[in-house]
Structure formats: C-alpha cells, structure tokens
C-alpha cells in the first residue's frame, strides 16, 4: 500500500511536467504571438517596442531556455505577470479566483454524489417502475445535454417562470443554487446510472439474500448490506467526475457570471496570455491528478479485496 502510494505520488511530477511541455509546445508551435495587437485590425506595435517587450517578458530567448526558466520559477510558485492584466501577477489572479471555482465545484460534486446515489438506489429498488423511469430519464438528460444548455433551461424555469433564484452573480448563497445544479446534473446522471447498475447486481448477490433470510428489514438490507458494496465501483467514477466538473465550470461560470477561474481560462487563451495559460492548465492538471490519486487510494481502503 505504502509503496503504491509513494510511486503514485512520484509519478505526479513527470505527468505535470509532460502536461506543461505539451501546453508549451502547442502555444509556441501555432502562429500568432502575444505581441500581436489585441484588437482586430489594429496597427501592430513598432519593431523596437516589440523587441523591448519580448526582452522584458523573456520571449526573445530560445524556446528550451524559456521552458526551463518557466519550470524553475513555477516550482517556487512564481508564474510571472499576466500579459493581459498587466498589473497583476498570475499567482494573485489564481489565488483570487480558484477558491471560488473550488467552492462551486465542491458543492456541485457533493450534490452530484448525494443526488446520484439517491436516484440510483431508488431506480434499483423500484426496478422497472415509475421511480426507475423517472431517475433514468433524469440521469440520461444530465449525461447527454451539455451543461450550458441545461443552464439556459434552469434560468428559464427557475428565474423567469418561477422567480425563485437570480439569473447570475455570486454575492449570496441564493446565487449559488442554479450554477451548482447546472454543474451537478451531468456527474449526477453518471453516478445515478452506475449506482443503479451496481445496486441491481448487489441486490441479487448471495449475501443480500442471506441478510434477508436472517429476517432483516428492507431498509437495513439496502443501506447496510447492498449500498456498501454497490458504492465501491462508484468511487472509481469520482476521478473523471472532478474533470467534468472542472472543465464544465468554464461554461457555467460564464453563463451565471461567477467570478471564478473558468472565465479567465478562455480570456487568457484567446489573448495569448502565456503565463496565465500555463498556470491555469497546470492548476487544473495538478488538482485532477491529486484527486485521482486520492480516489485510487480511497478505493483500496474501501474495498478490502484490493491489495496494492
């Protein structure tokens, strides 16, 4: 177990390094430069100004040198200044916005796990009855329909037809409801589908039969015997779930005007804000890799049949 955990932790660094390299190469291998004018059709900067700017940001050095400089600085937590928001360091922006995205993501994930498990259990217990069809349809919609489309429907339903929640903003917890739901529906659907499938399998297993034969009631059978075992395969889903919630937040944040990191992501990409792009990609990447690691270790703890 310890060995496995250690080797996984050691693998994190090369994976992140590879991600940084791929991102770096994609940025520099494509036409266009951060020195190009931002507005379309604007006059380009004078050659001297371009040269000075390039020297200031270190863009005039050979590519491999730039990459090495970036990595050494990034390891110390220094991602440089943003090219677009010139007065702010990338670190500042990330520290300001990441917690908001994290809060939104965590709420969405919590809702997805609780809601998904509930729907999945209901569907399995009442197989081929109304509850089953209801939760399967909800799960399918959540999985199939993109979250920005769901967000539009949510706003129409719960801001216009029933004016319960505001259409956007982030000031009070009332603003948090719709973005959280919009972001949660997709992972919720996936969890519900998986829970249903694995519950159906477990409900027919011998040990569940034994529990019933002992005279246990329906509720303890479902919750103590079946759910515990059905939950194990669902845990593996949590890794990809984090990814879905993380990337989903670009769209949800922009529709609901949430001041999180997702908005900066797109802005920095189209603005060729190299330091921002690297920082955002690596923050997401590191977060995902870390979560995947936690999930894999958790899996071993939950399922005594697994030995590393």
């Amino acid at each position: 177990m310890f060995h496995y955990a250690l080797s996984r932790v050691l693998w994190l660094l090369p994976t992140l390094l590879a991600m940084a390299l791929v991102t770096f190469l994609v940025m520099h291998a494509t036409p266009g430069s951060p020195l190009d004018p931002v507005a379309e059709g604007a006059n380009p900067l004078s050659p001297e100004a371009q040269k000075n700017l390039a020297a200031h940001y270190g863009l005039d050095r050979p590519l491999h040198e730039q990459f090495v400089i970036f990595v050494t600085k990034a390891l110390q937590g220094d991602f440089g200044n943003s090219f677009v928001y010139k007065t702010r360091t990338v670190r500042e922006i990330i520290l300001d916005t990441f917690p908001i995205s994290l809060l939104l993501g965590s709420m969405a994930l919590a809702l997805a796990v609780v809601g998904g498990l509930t729907l999945g259990i209901l569907a399995a217990v009442y197989q081929n009855r109304t509850w089953d069809y209801l939760s399967v349809s909800l799960a399918t919609i959540g999985v199939a329909v993109p979250n920005f489309v769901l967000a539009v429907f949510l706003i129409i339903l719960f801001s216009f037809i029933l004016p319960l929640f505001p259409t956007g903003g982030w000031d009070s917890p009332r603003n948090w409801v719709l973005p959280t739901v919009a972001l949660a529906l997709a992972p919720m659907g996936i969890i519900a589908r998986f829970t249903r499938a694995s519950m159906l399998e477990v409900i027919r297993a011998d040990y569940t039969l034994t529990a019933r034969a002992k005279g246990l009631g329906e509720v303890p059978v479902i919750f103590k015997h079946a759910l515990k075992n059905a939950f194990i395969p669902v845990v593996t889903l949590l890794g990809p779930m984090f990814a879905a919630v993380g990337t989903g937040s670009f769209f949800v944040e922009s529709i609901f005007r949430v001041p999180g990191m997702g908005r900066f992501f797109v802005l920095s990409m189209t603005g060729r804000d190299y330091p921002m792009i690297m920082a955002v990609v690596l923050t997401y990447g590191a977060f995902l890799a870390l979560m995947n690691l936690v999930v894999d270790l958790l899996y071993g703890v939950l399922d005594p049949r697994i030995r590393y």
Partner: protein
C-alpha cells in the same frame, strides 16, 4: 439489427438523426431566408407569423439560422469521427499487434493524453489555431483518437493470440494481410460502439467551442454559438438562446439513445 429495431428509444433516436441529416443536406431548400439576410428594422423580435422563431440581434431569421445550424452539427459529428477513426485505429492496432517498445511508447503517450482534461486541450488548440471548421476537425482529431486507440489496442491484444490468427499466419499471410483481414474485422464491435458515442461528443465539443467563441466563424450559424450569444440577452430576449438550446438537447439525446441501443444490440451478454 433486429435487436436494435426492437428498442423503441433507439429507433426514435435514429429517426430524429435521419431527419437532422436531411435538414442539414437540404438546408438551402428548407430555409425561408438566407442565414446572412439581415433586417435592421426588425431586431430581436419574438416569434411571429413572419419569423416563426423570431429574429436575432441583426434581424436575421432565427428559423433559417437554426436549419443551417444542423449542417454544422452533423458535419462535425460525423466528419470528426472519420478523422478520429483514421488516426486512432491504426495507432491502436499497431501498438497492440507489434507490442514491445513501440507499444510501451504509444501507451505512455496515450496515458499522458488521457491525463489532460480533453475539453481543456481542445479549447487550447482552438484558441491557438483560430476559429473555423477545418480547425475544429484538427482539434477533435488530435484529441479524440486516444479513446479509440485504447479500445483497438485492447481488442487486438486479445485477438492476436487466437488460433485462427495463428492459422492464417501458418498459411503464409503477411503482416498487413493478417492485421487488416484477420485481426481488425474481429475487433470491430467495440470500435463501432466507441464511434457511435463519439459522434454526440464531437457535436458537444463543437457546440461548446462555438459557445465560448472559438468554434465556428460567424456568420456561419452554429447552435452552440447562437446559445453563447443569446444567453447574454436572456433576460430581454429569451427566444435567442432557448431554441438553439432545445435543438442541441434533442440532438444529443437522440444520439445518446441511438448509441445506447447500438451498444446493447452488439453486446453478446445482453440477450
């Protein structure tokens, strides 16, 4: 095939898909107005008899733009899969069949690509290459092949050990013939399933890219782009983003139902 036709959801999904394809092909005949026709006297109008789905910020007919939007979605959904298969299947097959160092290198590479959140990478590639249909194909092709390559590799690994492959080799079949005639056809089922699920994913990717403005170039209409532009005015003009949203939802659901049906019909365990 018979099992697929007995699945009602899958059939209705398939019917909608065929309809969407027909709309996409005959968009020029179906649309009452060209999608670029502006009418500055009638901006942001709600649905009426003249404009069944209203007009947009430039007074263009939403109904016509929706019809042309089907074209982009279908083109990307189906076209991107061709590219994904053309890249993914050979790499996966080679990796699984040759084994050894080639396999090790390719699987490591696939693992790194897997660690990348896919949409993040696609957005990165698109914003670097610039918006446009060709670039969408490139971006989806670059990222989408990984899943298919993995599937193909796993299948080829299992099949190349079978007796009939040995038999063919004993009869003197060469490398190419073995791979193309004997191994790949038997590995087809999971690839077909992966492709049917890849189509809605590509459609989603295009819609998502266009939504944030790095997908299709205006004035070509795309549903995702219409939702993206329309959602800014959702308070005043609901119709701008609601209709394209419905179109995306219906398309995605149809492909999902159809894909589920195909998977179940091809799964030998579900009889």
């Amino acid at each position: 095939m018979r099992r697929l036709s007995r699945n009602r959801l899958a059939v209705s999904g398939g019917v909608v898909i065929v309809l969407l394809c027909l709309i996409a092909i005959f968009a020029d005949l179906l649309a009452p107005l060209p999608y670029t026709k502006t009418n500055f006297g009638r901006l942001n109008e709600a649905p009426s008899r003249d404009f069944p789905l209203g007009t947009d910020q430039l007074g263009r007919d939403m109904f016509s733009r929706m019809i042309y939007g089907a074209r982009v979605s279908m083109l990307v959904g189906l076209g991107a899969q061709v590219i994904v298969v053309l890249i993914g299947v050979p790499i996966g097959a080679l990796s699984g069949y040759v084994g050894g160092r080639v396999d090790l290198f390719l699987t490591r590479f696939i693992d790194v690509m897997y660690a990348f959140p896919r949409l993040l990478f696609v957005i990165l590639v698109m914003s670097m290459l610039g918006a446009g249909l060709t670039n969408i194909f490139i971006a989806i092709g670059l990222t989408g092949w990984v899943g298919i390559a993995r599937q193909t590799r796993a299948q080829v690994l299992a099949i190349k050990e079978k007796e009939f492959v040995d038999g063919a080799r004993a009869l003197g079949a060469g490398f190419n013939r073995l791979l193309v005639r004997h191994v790949l056809p038997n590995a087809l089922t999971p690839i077909v399933v992966a492709v049917t699920f890849g189509i809605p994913e590509a459609i989603f990717t295009e819609a998502a890219l266009s939504f944030i403005g790095v997908g299709i170039n205006p004035p070509t209409p795309s549903w995702g782009q219409m939702v993206g532009e329309g959602q800014q005015y959702i308070r005043s003009y609901w119709h701008l983003c609601v209709f394209p949203s419905i179109a995306i939802a219906i398309t995605m659901l149809s492909f999902t139902f159809f894909g589920d049906g195909v998977r179940d019909a091809l799964d030998p365990k579900l009889k």
